[in-house]
Amino acid sequence: MNNEIDALRAEFDKFVVEKCSINEKDRREKDEENEIPKDELPLFSDELARRLLTPQIAGANISRIDLKMISDETGDNVAVSNRNRMLKAILRHKRNREEIEPIFKSIDSRLNGRILLYREIIEAYPKSTNIFLNYINKIENLQSFMQTTLINFAEIDSDSPPISFDS
């Protein structure tokens, strides 16, 4: 009996150490564990994340709430967490244009909403024109990137034969 309790205690202590470690190496390893594997994401994911989630590049602030709404609209229902992870959870396992298009459409819709707001502000406060035209320009660049990405997105079927470059 005592051996069983000791074994249980040892198992519990091990569990606590693993889950609650403040050791930097352990934390990093855990973060890497929670990362979505790259082969489950479309190739453009990192670049899209960089452009969409950096306000200075996007011309808009896409928040967790925005991403949650995008995921709900596209039927993914991802959990609220850090924005990078949320975006990648939305893109996870999406392998063809038909699956990616609704996501891009939802993102586009939010960006267009921002453009409308910016134009209203410009009309109300003409001195702010340069600032908001700059934002609009950035959004349009982002939308152009997304459009090009979608057009160029090649579907790679898991059953496709290996690609030969020598023939």
Binding site: L53, Q56, I57, N61, D66, R114, I121, K127, I131
Partner: protein
């Protein structure tokens, strides 16, 4: 004291307070007793909870959870997040707002303000209030040159910092608020800041 300057300084101070910290009972009472509150926060008029709940209940069940949600959990109220290409917060001395602050002896008490960087929206708005008070003091002392210099600093500060990012924050702030108080605050703050920028430009252009 110049009434317009007084109003501007006080309003920046008011916005700074509401965007820096959650409401406390004292501030909530002041808002509720203010006869003009519905001019700034029109949606409060039709908000049942505002009309019917006690101060404590309103604060703890609605207002403070909303503030925490938008200002701490979901949105980032620091300029550098919106202006840096890596979307990081510049918490050190390299933060460029401090160039302006140093010139006017404005020191950020990080612990007291509960901020991690000097470019928090509440701090930048407090600095505008300081500048306007400084302009007014100069005018009271008949120091027109200094007053004009401070007015130009207000314009520079707005162009270099405040208006470069504040709309990216306040637009989300407004639409993600779950209470009419913070919804209207987002709208009012955005409108006031751009109206004020417009006003400053009119005054400076008039002098030139």
């Amino acid at each position: 004291m110049n009434n317009i300057l007084l109003t501007r300084a006080n309003f920046y101070s008011f916005l700074s307070r509401l965007l820096l910290f959650e409401l406390d009972l004292k501030t909530l009472k002041e808002l509720r007793e203010n006869k003009n509150i519905f001019e700034l926060f029109p949606n409060l008029q039709t908000w049942d909870s505002w009309q019917n709940l006690s101060d404590n209940e309103l604060l703890n069940s609605h207002i403070n959870p909303d503030f925490t949600n938008i200002s701490i959990l979901h949105l980032v109220p620091y300029e550098s997040f919106y202006t840096r290409e890596d979307a990081m917060i510049e918490s050190g001395g390299a933060n460029l707002v401090t160039n302006f602050y140093h010139e006017f002896g404005f020191k950020v008490e990080f612990n007291e303000a509960r901020v991690v960087a000097p470019d928090h929206i509440g701090i930048e708005l407090a600095f505008m209030s300081l500048l306007i008070n400084g302009e007014n003091n100069a005018l009271i002392n008949n120091d027109i040159k200094t007053a004009e210099k401070i007015l130009n600093t207000q314009k520079q500060f707005m162009e270099t910092h405040l208006i470069n990012w504040i709309s990216l924050y306040l637009i989300n702030f407004k639409f993600e608020a779950r209470t009419p108080l913070y919804y209207d605050l987002g709208e009012t703050a955005l409108a006031f800041i751009f109206e004020d920028y417009n006003y400053i430009n009119i005054i400076i252009d008039g002098k030139n």
